[in-house]
Symmetry: C2
Subunit: 391 residues, 2 copies
Amino acid sequence: MESEARIYLDNAATSFPKPEPVVRAVTEYMTQCGVAAGRGSSRRATALDGRIATGRAALARLWNAESPREILFTFNGTDSLNLAIHGCLRSGDHVITTELEHNSVLRPLRMWEAERNVTVTILPPEEDGRISPARLVSALRPHTRLVVLTHASNVTGAVQPIGAVGELLRARPDVLFLVDAAQTAGHIPIDVQQSRIDLLCCSGHKGLLGPLGTGVVYLRASRVSEVRSFRQGGTGSQSESLDQPSDSPDKYESGNPNAAGLVGLAAAVEWIHVQGVEAIAARAAELVGQLYEGLSANPRVRILSPDPALVPNAGVISFVVDGIDPRVTATLLDAHFGIEVRAGLHCAPLVHRSWGTLETGGTVRASVGPLTTATEIDALLTALLMITTAM
Amino acid sequence: MESEARIYLDNAATSFPKPEPVVRAVTEYMTQCGVAAGRGSSRRATALDGRIATGRAALARLWNAESPREILFTFNGTDSLNLAIHGCLRSGDHVITTELEHNSVLRPLRMWEAERNVTVTILPPEEDGRISPARLVSALRPHTRLVVLTHASNVTGAVQPIGAVGELLRARPDVLFLVDAAQTAGHIPIDVQQSRIDLLCCSGHKGLLGPLGTGVVYLRASRVSEVRSFRQGGTGSQSESLDQPSDSPDKYESGNPNAAGLVGLAAAVEWIHVQGVEAIAARAAELVGQLYEGLSANPRVRILSPDPALVPNAGVISFVVDGIDPRVTATLLDAHFGIEVRAGLHCAPLVHRSWGTLETGGTVRASVGPLTTATEIDALLTALLMITTAM
């Protein structure tokens, strides 16, 4: 398998390949450093802590956070979302979210609904695949505590109007605005001030191009007292106290960090800064346009993502081939053409319910990264033509 | 720094170096595989899932679990302990634990005590640094739900009588027995059946020799219904449901696993099986004996660990040098001799309270791993002699 040409179009699950400095950072850490982070005072530990602090600062800069202390490291996107959701909800709260969300939002909320007296309003998208900011805001209640909105659907790629929602939420300073940036962090620009975001959650291994085992939360400094810690334990600080520290980031970062992952993530975010996230977004838009056009030209293909010429897309296109189970399409692409895409529900069941794809195996999803090429998109389109001609 | 001789004696924080197959597995994953685990159906994803399943089975075998499904993967030892503690406690419960515990046990328990009407009994160790099983069991109350006991103190290394405690707890099947194996997993044999353990928690990157960003929980199958999920989200299974799956391990493994870490961990546990955990334990005992004897011969050194000839030790010795702050000792060892040890409280404050080392900077801690040599121990002893002669 290693010797055959490989076309990886599942960057919405995890990005591959990683930029070379990322792999080098991990390997160097494992072979030459190897110490625990945030706990020691040896020269290697001090240098490692400095490197991780650089990554924290680079992320703060990427999203226009006011301070690196607003950047929390976790272990994956789901861990980030659980930290955020479980941290801020209380019995009796009302939450607004959408049908576009991933199970990493829907399942924690369902748990609060089922067990802890929280009510959840789940809004459908409009015809164009986007949430209406006005409709969202009209669902606010006096005891609404939290709005959770994905920045882009992991099934359709449609970018959601977080800026407009954030702007409207300025009238409700008591409401926490949580944005799930799983599909947009590193892919498209994000400004937490401009979009009035209180909590931004993502993994470190998708668009941020870091290793698996890393996740990130932006938590606005003024909200720290409203968000409980998710994990309590050793923080390498205030060790004499049995109480969890109350300051960010230590309040939220207990236990040994994934140091190998975090030095890789630091290198990755620096690579993104050098490329420029606007340039990365522009390239992805081109590739997604090419993919959408090509798929539109195939009469057997039904595309479920909105036209990226009309609705900005974070690099993800979902489609089905008439008469072929999505899982079969994906298997054929992998087995005969060396093309890796994803088939299924993509852990976002409610999107499929409204499309009627919940009981038919979901969709085929192709997703690009900053190292994807136009030639690779062409190869996918050609392969699909061959499949639809043959079957 | 890279060119000078390096002596790493901080294996209780994280082990270094890792066996060569561990580094190779991580590098190969990052450069050649790169796909997400547990979510896809491509050939690479299937092979990866198989590799991770092998690691799960190897861990089940290591601890005599009845099924690999009883092995849950987390992201570090603290994550494992939080999963266990937050999963099983309910308002009104009573918990028994000890002064030997790490803050990753004490701080979650303190939170339950402060906010959720849980009472916690914290037992001191006996003169020999061990918890008395009889005293522990006499602290049981009718509503005791959980006993949390470290298998070995991360400050003293003293191995605790988990087998005797487990045996006595057979009379109380309503009580969950949680063992913190942070310092013993991979270091010394553990049998969850023989010791009647319900939950065993550890990191994957200490004695198990895997990469950082990995943790492990053993959860007895019959207890799954009593332990809530800690993180809810996408599991790659039952994606059509908004409810978290109720089966183990999916119930407890939401979000993208640290695939790079888990293939490294699988390679590490296989390496441990080849060496034999008994052989690893015997080597560590020799080294710790050598260290204890050598330190005893230095009149300026006060050893806080019990004599390993009398109390089994998991590979950790704590000491202080009269008249020198532990942090200064550690810095001198690092700067002048290239020896990395740890100084401080080691996130276990209550141990220091009883020794009077809480306000004096804690202890110097030296900890061995399976790749530590007798020559390295000699180098530490010689360096300490030079320091105590010069200062």
